[in-house]
């Protein structure tokens, strides 16, 4: 048994950390969050804010659906006023467009696959339907997939809302605090050396995002993680013409029109991460691919000016889904990181399910696909 029962230290006060803190604190745990910077400084606040079940890896799907349930009733988690500030817009839909035979073929396969697994609410769209839903879409579009319940939210506001709610539930947040070393205590639990002193806790949760593997290494555990810097382009304001979020299948395409009319273009184009300097840079040399993909889908946008670009730091695993679960032989050290650029939507469910698992002492079956064990020798992709 952990020496200090029901005390948790969470390393990294991003959205996942704050969400777990919220659920644990509500369950009566004594929770402290440490952040080397300020809460939500990186991927949590600067992602595109997509609330998407569409095209999720099937292993993530149940978690994603649970998360959607939480987003729909966000006021229950963070309070009515904070929930309002998060600008949750569900029901505008997310649509994947198939622009060539290979993408259409993948789309058909996806529908069969999801049906076979009994998952999801993705609907196949014909060429006519997809063009009707997306004015300005190229005549070459062959069809698509839609998740009508999907949408988006404001990531910075959401991170803030979860942070506030966690604090209101009793969690403590220590910012500008760097973890220097982890030491397992003989009877279980951890001693954590940090720039603001030593903490002794029963349960340690590594929510360090792009720095997740570094923190794991402090406990002698090796997990594969690449630090990436997904980047975006933002255009000048255009006449509102697009409500759903549009994503590509093989193309680096992902964009939506913001409330003020500007187009936010992502698609997974990567900038240059400088994790040691706590920052990242956009690389314009890589933007042509994203711009070309956007124009291939929406040819009329050629003259819309790109005003700015941005990027943030994120951790990516080799197989595109996160690590969520206890470390090898350490039921009192959990890893929750490596969301590969699509963890924003999952966060309320991550808090819920991880919290539930820690409180009950058993790993929830929803988390089975995310065990770090899948990267053990022989298994890795």
């Amino acid at each position: 048994m952990p020496r200090q029962n029901e005390t948790a230290l969470i390393i990294g006060a991003g959205l996942q950390g704050c969400s777990i803190a919220l659920f644990l604190a509500r369950a009566g745990w004594n929770v402290t969050l440490l952040d080397k910077n300020v809460a939500g400084r990186h991927a949590s606040s600067v992602n595109a804010g997509g609330l998407r079940t569409l095209m999720r890896d099937w292993r993530e799907y149940p978690l994603s659906e649970l998360a959607m349930e939480h987003w729909r009733h966000l006021d229950r988690l963070v309070g009515a006023i904070a929930a309002e500030s998060c600008e949750v817009r569900l029901g505008v839909g997310q649509i994947a467009v198939a622009l060539d035979e290979a993408e259409m073929s993948w789309t058909l396969g996806r529908v069969q696959e999801m049906e076979r697994r009994g998952l999801g609410t993705e609907e196949l769209l014909s060429a006519t339907e997809v063009r009707k839903m997306l004015p300005g879409l190229t005549d070459q579009a062959l069809g698509g997939l839609v998740s009508r319940g999907d949408g988006h939210a404001n990531p910075a506001a959401s991170t803030r809302a979860f942070r506030q709610a966690a604090m209101a539930a009793g969690a403590k947040i220590v910012e500008n605090c760097r973890v220097l070393g982890l030491e397992r205590l003989p009877g279980g639990g951890w001693s954590v050396a940090s720039s603001s002193g030593r903490y002794e806790v029963g349960m340690l949760v590594n929510c360090a995002g792009a720095w997740g593997a570094q923190v794991a290494a402090m406990a002698g555990q090796t997990l594969p993680l690449k630090v990436v810097a997904p980047s975006m382009m933002v255009t000048a304001r255009a006449q509102p013409f697009l409500e759903p979020v549009v994503i590509g299948i093989d193309r680096p395409l992902s964009f939506k029109q913001s409330a003020v009319g500007s187009l936010v273009i992502g698609g997974g184009i990567l900038g240059k991460p400088c994790a040691d300097h706590d920052t990242s840079f956009t690389v314009m040399d890589r933007m042509p691919e994203g711009a070309a993909a956007t124009l291939e889908a929406f040819p009329a946008l050629a003259h819309v000016p790109v005003l700015r670009t941005w990027t943030g730091l994120e951790g990516a695993t080799p197989d595109g889904i996160p690590v969520i679960g206890p470390g090898e032989g350490t039921p009192d050290l959990w890893h929750v990181f490596g969301f590969c650029g699509h963890g924003f939507q999952l966060s309320p469910a991550v808090g819920d399910v991880v919290g539930r698992s820690l409180v009950s002492g058993t790993v929830d079956p929803l988390l089975a696909p995310f065990s770090g064990r899948r990267f053990d020798a022989g298994d890795a992709a």
Binding site: Q112, V228, D285
Partner: protein, 502 residues
């Protein structure tokens, strides 16, 4: 140099074709260097010699009177422009906007719908100055213009303002423009200066022999305006513009008394400051110039900048120099003198010489020796006090000083966090107009010491059409290696339904 690094397109790339850029280009080309000059305008000259070639050729009566009004300082650029045009080694690219500069000498450019990167073994930033942004109540109303904008319309558009005109602010340009307007038959209703007699008295301590000419010139302008019966006040404070759809009146305080004047055009000017958007986005170290309430790039005397980027982002030494008003406000003569110094330093860096000559360095010192006098005589006025809560600071996103103060007080205590939260600086100007006020508000609330922080500048610092981005040329092969997040889910039945992988 690594195998994959693209070859340089020229020995030197110069950004900007004003006095300093042209002087440097000529010096470099005459020494045998290949030079690419990128400039936003259609013809050489920068702001001060804008459209000079065409205006010199205009023999019409209106053309001649415009030339006469613009005066000898305008015509003085003709010789340099001619020498610039005569250099065959200069690859001059007008109407070209620079949207990124990297410490390694890579420069992003846009011309129409064409866009790309060029590379220089050395790069000289000669992009000049901008007028100090002055947020005051009503500054975003149609009918409020800056003195520089009015001059642009005079020089390039041959447009004269009409109606009831008020000029407000400080600095030589304000008085020069008032005189030019008067000479063109436009009589301003008022020249309201924020500077005071006490500033002039204090300035006399800084007067050097070189400044006497300017002093005489300035007194001449004042004398002529007085003779013409143009009303003039000093010590103007609390300027405000009022009107429904456009300016209808201006109000201000002089000597403790509030006054209101009917007005159709309010021309404001609060001095000029180095344009720092390119140096800031290039990651060059900036310094804060307190008395001038502005940033400037931190450079060596010959203009070499210092990169603040982490080593991963800027391999090799920084090859960026800054010259002219972009480095330090000094006017055309100082800009030409420093352009030559920077060119000589670049030649030395390219193994073509011993560095700036003593004579060239002396010329810079001499031209800059009048600055302390001018700085003391015309201290920042309209922008001296921070704006009231109701005044718009970021006009792209329509944010007031009160909006920003509230967010700063609620915990957004660094520039990037403040930008992310409020969208201040995210519009088409990318913070060119609001950044200094946002930084001063932040400093005022946090009492932080040291150089005022800037927004992180990311490319593009000027808008690029999406269609042009799609056709970006001159890419670095290493940088374009396909890098995207690969997170498309695999279908288990993929091998049977999918086309074979490419």
């Amino acid at each position: 140099m690594s195998i994959n690094a693209p070859l340089p397109d020229a020995d030197v790339i110069i950004v900007g074709c004003g006095p300093s850029g042209m002087a440097a280009a000529v010096e470099l080309a005459e020494a045998g260097c290949s030079v690419i000059v990128l400039d936003m305008q259609p013809t050489p000259g920068g702001q001060i010699f804008r459209n000079l070639e065409a205006n010199l050729c205009d023999t019409s009566l209106a053309g001649q009177s415009l030339l006469a009004a613009l005066g000898p300082a305008y015509r003085a650029g003709a010789d340099l422009i001619q020498r610039f045009r005569a250099c065959s080694r200069i690859d001059y690219r007008p109407q070209t906007t620079v949207w990124e500069v990297r410490p390694d000498g890579t420069v992003g450019w846009l011309q129409g719908m064409n866009v790309g990167y060029v590379r220089g073994r050395q790069v000289l930033l000669a992009h000049g100055a901008m007028e100090r942004p002055v947020p005051f109540p009503g500054w975003t109303l149609p009918g409020v213009m800056t003195a520089g904008a009015v001059q642009t319309l005079l020089k390039a558009g041959h447009l004269k303002p009409s109606g009831r005109i008020v000029l407000a602010g400080t600095g030589p340009l304000l008085l020069l423009l008032a005189n030019q307007l008067h000479q063109l038959g436009v009589k301003p209703a008022l020249v309201g200066r924020t500077d005071r007699l006490s500033d002039s008295v204090r300035a006399m301590r800084h007067l050097r022999p070189g400044g006497l000419v300017l002093l005489v010139k300035g007194l001449g302008w004042l004398g002529r305006l007085k003779l013409a019966g143009v009303k003039s006040v000093t010590g103007l404070e609390n300027l405000a513009a009022d009107g429904a759809q456009s300016v209808e009146s201006v109000s201000f305080t002089v000597g403790g008394k509030r006054q209101t004047l009917p007005c159709d055009l309010l021309i404001v000017h609060d001095g000029i400051v180095p344009a720092i958007d390119i140096p800031n986005a290039a990651g060059l170290r900036l310094q804060w110039d307190g008395p001038n309430a502005s940033w400037r790039p931190a450079t060596t005397p010959d203009g070499l900048g210092a990169s603040t980027l982490p080593p991963e982002m800027s391999a090799g030494p920084c090859v960026l120099r800054v010259t002219g008003d972009a480095r330090k406000i000094g006017g055309a003569d100082a800009a030409m003198a420093h352009g030559r110094v920077a060119a000589q330093a670049i030649l030395a860096a390219l193994d073509h010489g011993a560095g700036p000559s003593a004579e060239a360095l002396r010329a810079v010192d001499k031209a800059l020796s009048v600055r302390p006098f001018l700085d003391a005589a015309f201290p920042p006025g309209l922008a001296q006090d921070l704006p009231d809560d109701d005044t718009i600071v970021c006009r792209c996103e329509e944010l007031t000083a009160g909006d920003l103060r509230a967010k700063i007080r609620s915990g957004f205590r660094n520039m990037d966090a403040l930008r992310g939260e409020t969208r201040c600086g995210m519009g088409p100007c990318q913070g060119r107009n609001c950044m200094v006020t946002a930084a001063r508000l932040l400093q005022d609330e946090t009492r932080a010491a040291g150089c005022l922080p800037t927004f992180r500048g990311r490319p593009p610092i000027r808008p690029i059409p999406l269609g042009a981005v799609a056709r970006l040329s001159g890419l670095a092969p290493r940088a374009t290696i396909r890098l995207t997040l690969e997170d498309k889910p695999e279908n288990a039945s993929e091998d049977t339904v999918d086309a074979p992988a490419e």
